[in-house]
Amino acid sequence: MTGEALLTVDGLVTKFDAADGVVHAINGVSFDIRPGETLGVVGESGSGKSVTMMSLLGLIPSSVGRIAAGTARYRATSGEVDLLKLSERQFGRIRGREIGMVFQDPISSLNPVMTVGRQIAESLQRHLGLGRRESRSRAIEMLARVGIADPSHRVDDYPHEFSGGMRQRVMIAIALAAGPRLMIADEPTTALDVTVQAQIMALVRELQAESELAVIWVSHDLGVVAGLADRVLVMYGGTIVESAGVDDLFENPQHPYTRGLLASIPGTGLAGSRLASIPGTPPSLQHELKLCPFADRCSHAIDRCARERPGLTPISADHSSACFWDIDASRQRDGVAVIAQREGM
């Protein structure tokens, strides 16, 4: 997990045109990921985790939404590209070849009328130009690598003949068949039972130990992220509110939202005590974000929080937070960038 970033996202803004107005889904998201690193992305539903990933993969249909700003520099094998500026045709060489994808629901991502072997082989033929026979034997190898027993027979089975956990293994086999250096996994274990989730998490750890595979793992489950990630991004209201190494994030959370989120997990407080909860609900995203997205739920809010929007600001090596307040010191934090403010104020 060393060296230059594999992917550097800077200032991503994604908007949707809904019936009742614009949805400001992503409001300036910046992060990077290095080879071999696992980046966990957490946040509650609607915080923008999936839209961020779909934006990077060119999967926002122009009929419903658009990327309004930002760059996403990816070091592809053929040279650096900006993922936010590629045409659909150019994306054909990126998705599956340079970046593997795994989603929550394997059954809708797999083709039900094609054997799993053909689906893996297709990726190999398209991206690596392998012949029929060679791609079939590579498909069998891939199935074995993701832990499917009896792969030389299972290669001819259809998706419905696999259990949920095995289908997710097949999805991972397809995602990794062409040898991408980055895998984006959006809630890949959310639909699985906990004992099967543990198997998939163990598999991904093994695959990473064998190669320099970088993984972006999106989850709303902080336990899953604690178990897999090297670094964590916490999303709220279409922004990153905190970013830190995994130990630092769990032991020394700085943003009021992150603290609230961690405190509301059962088992983290005193036994038998009440759960800490965050009053209120997440923002509606109907307006351009010109204040702190957490302002109306935050117990530390000060006047300026409703007038100005704090930018993600480094507070120590590899730890950033987007908040004007320093909770531990009980005073305003110095040097927090103001990245937007309400007019007439």
Binding site: E44, S45, S163, G164, G165, M166, D193, V194, T195, V196, Q197, A198, Q199, M201, A202, H220, D221, L222, G223, V224, A226, G227, A229, V246, D247, F250, G260, L261, L262, S264, I265, P266, G267, T268, A271, R274, L275, A276, S277, I278, P279, T281, P282
Partner: protein, 336 residues
């Protein structure tokens, strides 16, 4: 509150309850011989993986679907033999809260009328009494009474679940089954609803059966926990006993698979990784239902069903290797 503080009066007594479904090509044994008591004022947690029969147990227990065999006694009376009309008369005492509240509401009804509906059906109250009671219930669950004219879509998921709770409590039930009542909610909102439910339990002396797959949540809310696997309860014990010292090999594997929100613990942790997935309940294995995935299975596990027995006071386990004398005699094989 612990179960022991109360005189052990069982509000609900379930014995050898079975619910089988005929489907093309066979029979699904969704619930296949479960027995347990639910004590007055306690929360019994019911956990297990998808399809193991938790919801079916909850529904059968309340008579929402007829049992195939076995008995469910509520305040000493067997519900399984009752006619529809007799069951209806019992309904106010026993209520269910479902996972997806939004789906069960009529979108054209105001939340005031949604909360009032069970009272209008079951209770002999006049309009103004119902009106007052709705306001009282809304306040009880933390909703403003001025909101009674609003429609379900104007509320967030957490608020809709509060509406659902108000509705379930409107008939003053003694016993409430919650089927994943917070699973669809985000963690910070889950906490609001869980706190509300435990406050209401204290205030109103409610008895809960809480169905959930989130084990940390179950640990937080339950006095005792029952673990299901393929239609059977494989282990039942006081919450801390179960979490600190699980005895059944399935409980051990299940607990070891739960991700902890603590990276250092996660890295240091030894895990029992089970092979494969849960078999289809249409083809439940012979003998012990867990044997196809059990790291400790022996020959007799394929032929003899392990009895569900009280291996120590208040702790029930169904495994040939856990006999009460010692426990889980063979150490479980651990993989990293």
């Amino acid at each position: 509150m612990t179960a022991g503080e109360h005189a052990d009066t069982a509000v609900v007594r379930v014995r050898d309850l079975r619910k089988h479904f005929r489907v093309s090509g066979g029979t699904v044994r969704a619930v296949d011989g479960v027995s347990f008591d639910i004590l007055r004022g306690e929360t019994l947690g019911l956990v297990g993986e998808s399809g193991c029969g938790k919801s079916t147990t909850g529904r059968t227990l309340l008579g929402l679907t007829p049992a195939t065999a076995g008995s469910v006694e509520f305040r000493g009376r067997d519900l399984t033999g009752l006619s529809r009309r007799q069951l209806r008369a019992m309904r106010p005492h026993m209520q269910m809260i479902f996972q997806d509240s939004a789906a069960s509401f009529n979108p054209r009804h105001t939340i005031g009328s949604i909360i009032a509906e069970p009272m209008a059906i079951h209770l002999d109250l006049d309009r103004s009494a119902i009106h007052d009671r709705v306001a009282e219930l809304m306040e009880l669950v933390g909703l403003k009474r001025e909101w009674r004219k609003r429609f379900p879509h104007e509320f967030s998921g957490g608020q809709r679940q509060r509406i659902n709770i108000a509705r379930a409590l409107s008939l003053n039930p003694e016993f409430v089954v919650g089927d994943e009542p917070v699973s669809a909610l985000d963690v910070s909102i889950q906490a609001q609803v869980v706190n509300l439910m435990s406050d209401l339990q204290d205030e109103l002396g409610l008895t809960y059966l809480m169905i959930a797959h989130d084990l940390s949540m179950v640990r937080h809310i339950s006095d005792r926990v029952a673990v299901m696997y393929l239609g059977k309860v494989v282990e039942l014990a006081a919450t801390e006993t179960l979490f600190e010292d699980p005895q059944h090999p399935y409980t051990q594997a299940l607990l070891s698979a739960v991700p902890l929100p603590n990276p250092k613990q996660e890295r240091a942790r030894q895990r029992i990784l089970l092979e494969g997935d849960v078999p289809s309940p249409r083809e439940a294995p012979s003998g012990c239902v867990f044997r196809t995935r059990c790291p400790l299975a022996e020959a007799r596990c394929a032929t003899e069903e392990p009895p569900y027995r009280e291996v120590s006071p208040g702790r029930f386990v169904a495994c040939h290797l856990v006999d009460g004398a010692g426990s889980n005699v063979v150490p479980v094989e651990i993989t990293g």
